[in-house]
Amino acid sequence: MILTRENILNFVITAGLILVPIYAVIVEEPFTITLATRAVIFSLAAVGLNIALGLGGMVSLGHAVFFGLGGYTMGILAFHAQSYIPLFEWPILIEGTKQMLVVWPLAMIISAIAAFVIGLLSLRTGGVYFIMITLAFGQMFFFFSISWSAYGGEDGLSIYVRNQFPLVNTLVPIQFYAICLAILMLALWINARLAKSSFGLALSAARQNTERVRNVGLDPTSIKLVAFVISGAITGLAGALFADLNRFVSPTMFSWQLSGEIMVFIIIGGIGRLYGPVLGAIIFVTLEHFLGGISEYWLVFLGLLLLLIVLFSRGGLVGLLVGRERVHE
């Protein structure tokens, strides 16, 4: 790995994500660990969106769909596990589960299927239509979750005990944090590999010039669709973890404000940058905690910050700290 300023920044952020919670354990401040877990899970959701948005140039304003689907997958499975009512009795008996290793793949598969359908329909259009359609699909899931009363409807679902992971006591905050951080690192690694792979290069090309990609014999729409599906699956996994963190799922996980916020993480951090979503989510959770403590109207300040970043600093904070992205050699 070359020692660029961006790599140094990435290293510092990673070290912070490891050291701050360990420090919190030593000084016995469990709430800091909860905040860090929240930041890591939001990072993961934004890393997912960054694959669609940063690499593929797809401005999806409906990524809360996948976050919510991941959350509800976890919530519904846990609901059936804790009430001992099987999910299906026909054609085969399927029961609820509390095993993370079962919940995660399911959350990802369900989100991926939804991403495939939404992507297939939305990618028929482009530009501003794409934004509005993904937003509309988000509302569709939001209203469905509100009016579908079997799983709590508007009130959401409470989960009594956190899901289990082999050899780990997930009820200890720092151990659950370690799981989330490990997944985030894995997702970042996948993201970095993807960006450098031939698929990632084709995706970047499809973002920059659709016609040329088509002319060299590739199909830009299916490349984008694959990226959208991967993106949705990662955000879905983040949703399942978020549900586990709060032991609660509700329709707000589908809300369009959440879609907007996930996008805001990326922009504050720096679009298309590997660690942009991570830095953005950390800053969001920190501001939410400290400004939220000072004033209940803290979102005004977030709005102003966002407006300033969009109008005057287009590379986000990563861009501000390490300068422009290096051109591919």
């Binding site: 028929r124 937003l135 699909f137 569709m140 369009w256 109207y297 966002l306 407006l307 969009v310 109008l311």
Partner: protein, 320 residues
């Protein structure tokens, strides 16, 4: 006649004709208000190429201006004037301060900057007016029902809303197709350099178009706020419905916005009432109600998806 008879037998008592007509009027009313909202949105997009998420905030600003003016003066008419001018002025101010910097940016920047504006507007309004809903009362004279032919009773106020919306549609059509300003707006859609070279003050024109859109959103907010309640966050659900409307109608087309809005208003209202009843015909009562209302809430998005599959550019959109 045969069809009507078989319906009363199979559907039971729920679908008398008067009830049906009343629901159609409700659908029309909500559709017309959606049009007033969507017209500004589609005009702003068509002329300036701007996607404006903060349009819902202007709807909210209008409703709050109306509620404040009504509390102060006691006149509903003055409240509507306050909504229209208040939202138009706020829109003008925001356009000159923020929006005009976004015309040359890509859609992502526009989405984010206007999302930031929503946060600022919503929390700012919460700061000044509090989180509790305000109430805007319709004058007693027009609050009551009126008897229409064939035994329909319908609130006068809702009929007035439909009338106001139709007037707005007519006014916009006249403005755009018959006036000099309309010529400039249409020319601005096609070639902004050319009309700037012809001596039209483009930036004043853009501010004006934005202010019209903002004023209409504010008017819609006040008119609907009098039926529902005036509160922070009231604009966003309507904004997203307005997006659905202009996606269905074709972005930039006022005619498309009109037809799309009526379609969405009718589908949403009628679906919410009749889908659960329809499901009851072949399902158990409680499940039918639950599933029917869940599906009804998704109906307009399904409609949008279907139209999109058949015509990606919307019903009246221009290809490409």
């Amino acid at each position: 006649m045969g069809a009507a008879n078989s319906c009363t037998q199979t559907c039971g008592v729920f679908m008398s004709f008067a009830l049906f007509a009343e629901q159609v009027l409700n659908g029309l009313q909500s559709g017309i208000m959606l049009f007033v909202m969507a017209a500004g949105l589609t005009l702003i997009f068509g002329v300036m190429g701007l996607i404006n998420l903060a349009h819902g905030s202007l709807y909210m600003v209008g409703a709050f201006a109306a509620a404040a003016a009504a509390a102060w003066t006691g006149s509903f008419l003055l409240a509507l004037v306050a909504a229209l001018t208040g939202a138009a002025l706020v829109g003008m101010f925001v356009e000159m301060l923020v929006i005009r910097r976004l015309y040359d940016r890509d859609h992502l920047d526009q989405v984010l900057a206007t999302f930031a504006l929503i946060l600022i507007f919503s929390e700012g309004t919460r700061f000044f007016f509090g989180s509790f809903p305000l109430f805007l009362d319709v004058p007693k004279v027009i609050a009551g029902p009126i008897n229409l032919p064939i035994g329909i009773e319908y609130p006068v106020y809702r009929l007035i809303i439909i009338g106001v919306g139709l007037c707005v549609a007519l006014g916009l059509w006249l403005l755009i197709s018959k006036t000099r300003l309309g010529v400039q707006i249409r020319a601005g859609k096609n070639d902004r350099e050319m009309i700037a070279a012809l001596g039209v003050n483009i930036s004043a024109l853009y501010t004006f178009v934005f202010a019209i859109g903002a004023g209409l959103a504010g008017l819609a907010g006040a008119l609907v706020g009098a039926i529902q309640s005036v509160q922070v966050g009231m604009g966003e659900p309507v904004l997203i419905l307005a997006f659905v409307v202009i996606v269905i109608g074709g972005i930039g087309s006022i005619k498309g916005a009109f037809i799309g809005a009526i379609l969405v208003g009718l589908t949403d209202t009628l679906g919410g009432i009749f889908l659960p009843e329809l499901f009851k015909l072949f399902m158990e009562g409680s499940i039918a109600t639950s599933l029917g209302s869940a599906l009804a809430s998704m109906l307009i998005y399904i409609l949008m998806a279907v139209i999109l599959v058949c015509r990606p550019q919307g019903l009246f959109g221009v290809q490409g």
